[in-house]
Amino acid sequence: MSKKQDQTASFMVRFNQQIFEEDGESKVQWRGKISHVQEGDEQNFTDFNDALIFMQEKLANLTKEATKDKTTEQQEGILQKSLYMWKTMKEVGPKVLMETIKDPKKQLSQFQDQIQGQISSIGEEISEKVQIDEWRNASRSDYKKVKKSINELAEQIKQLSNKIDNISKK
């Protein structure tokens, strides 16, 4: 089994906002920097899609590294599934980011709906393509872990909603 560290990619993203007047109108420019923690690579960007491509490349490398002992066919299949999430992320990511900046409260409620939507559509995708036989059945402790994570997540969302409500009241 691969080490946990070999299966993890962490990214630090910095956004630097520049607001300025040009040709009589106010403009805003975002200058960003994304760093891949485990390798120390960095890339500057002004288009968030470039940051997503950077992440996608790093994650693809991680998948390739973890599957190097498999056949090319198997590797490509896994890579394809691995990139499926990125297809969705790349399509909705920049839009979500902009909308969150514009209206965090509305976006939070949409997020909750979208997460539900994505979970069911990804679920369908997986059940169609992945060899379920190769999976082991979930144990009782797996269920407990999932239940605990969901509860923690729900609590965090609740706290976030409260914070947003407080900000809106101000």
């Binding site: 946990k4 560290q5 962490s10 520049q18 300025f20 007047e21 420019q29 920097k33």
Partner: protein, 267 residues
């Protein structure tokens, strides 16, 4: 309520008298009652890692043991944690009598946190100095100047440079970098009239950390201009233009271009 100057004095006194001082910026070093701790005292690297993790998460109240182990060691068990924690106690309080509560790492059930009232940590103090600098920036230049200078003196380099590939340390590293960039720029701005050479030096330091920091180029141009070095001010603009084009594919901001126009118009 203590004034900003009083707060600065308290922080300086704390630096001098804290029983434990920890340097995380530039390198990792500990002083125990004024004496540098020999790295050999640490024994295992896991002990150092655990203390560094406590420092990185010092603002999160009560860190849960399971979470710490999960974030730090992929194959760590309870025994590893106990040994590492014991190692920390032994280094920080070698003379502590048995069956007495540790002073510096406080335990609450299965949660742990550092006692920040007794431990001086450079990254923590850096932030406190900068907060005082920012609070007095518009009202008391002398206090702001002192605070930023103290912050800059504390900053000896990147946060835990030997852990740059560990994700649990990256948040603090990023935060420290942004803090010191803001201190360089604010102090450079305050000193522009009184000491433009120092403004130039401070902006050079900022650009060494982030070569795309446009505020630093603008201040550096103003610094050279104040010193009557127009060619160098123009060169600084050209460098800014080239870096922004290479890294972002954008032009300098209108205010930077406007400054360049003003410099060019000076005969």
């Amino acid at each position: 309520m203590s004034t900003p100057i009083k707060k600065l004095e308290e922080l300086i006194a704390f630096q001098e008298h804290a029983p434990i001082r920890i340097q995380t910026l530039g390198q990792f070093t500990i002083w125990r009652t004024g004496e540098k701790v020999d790295p050999k005292e640490w024994g295992r690297d896991k002990t150092v890692q655990l203390l560094q993790y406590f420092i990185s998460n010092r603002r999160r109240n009560a860190l849960h043991k399971e979470k710490i182990m999960d974030n730090l060691w992929e194959e760590g068990d309870d025994r590893d944690f106990k040994v590492a924690l014991h190692g920390i106690h032994k280094v920080l309080e070698p003379e502590r009598p048995s069956r007495t509560e540790p002073t510096y790492v406080i335990r609450q059930g299965v949660s742990y946190q550092l006692n920040l009232e007794k431990i001086w940590i450079d990254i923590d103090i850096l932030e406190k100095y900068i907060v005082i600098g920012n609070e007095t920036f518009g009202t008391d230049h002398s206090c702001a100047k002192k605070a930023y200078k103290l912050a800059i003196a504390v900053y000896q380099g990147a946060y835990l440079p030997n852990r740059i590939y560990e994700d649990w340390s990256s948040e603090e590293r990023e935060k420290a970098q942004l803090l010191i960039l803001s201190a360089y720029i604010s102090l450079a701005e305050i000193l522009l009239e009184e000491n433009p050479l120092e403004t130039i030096r401070l902006t050079q330091n900022a650009l060494a950390i982030d070569p795309t920091w446009e505020d630093a180029y603008r201040l550096q141009m103003q610094g050279y201009l104040a010193k009557g070095n127009r060619p160098q001010a123009i060169k600084t603009f050209q460098k800014c233009e080239q870096v922004l084009d290479t890294e972002y594919g954008v032009d300098p901001l209108p205010q930077t271009k406007e400054l360049m126009r003003e410099i060019q118009e000076i005969s």
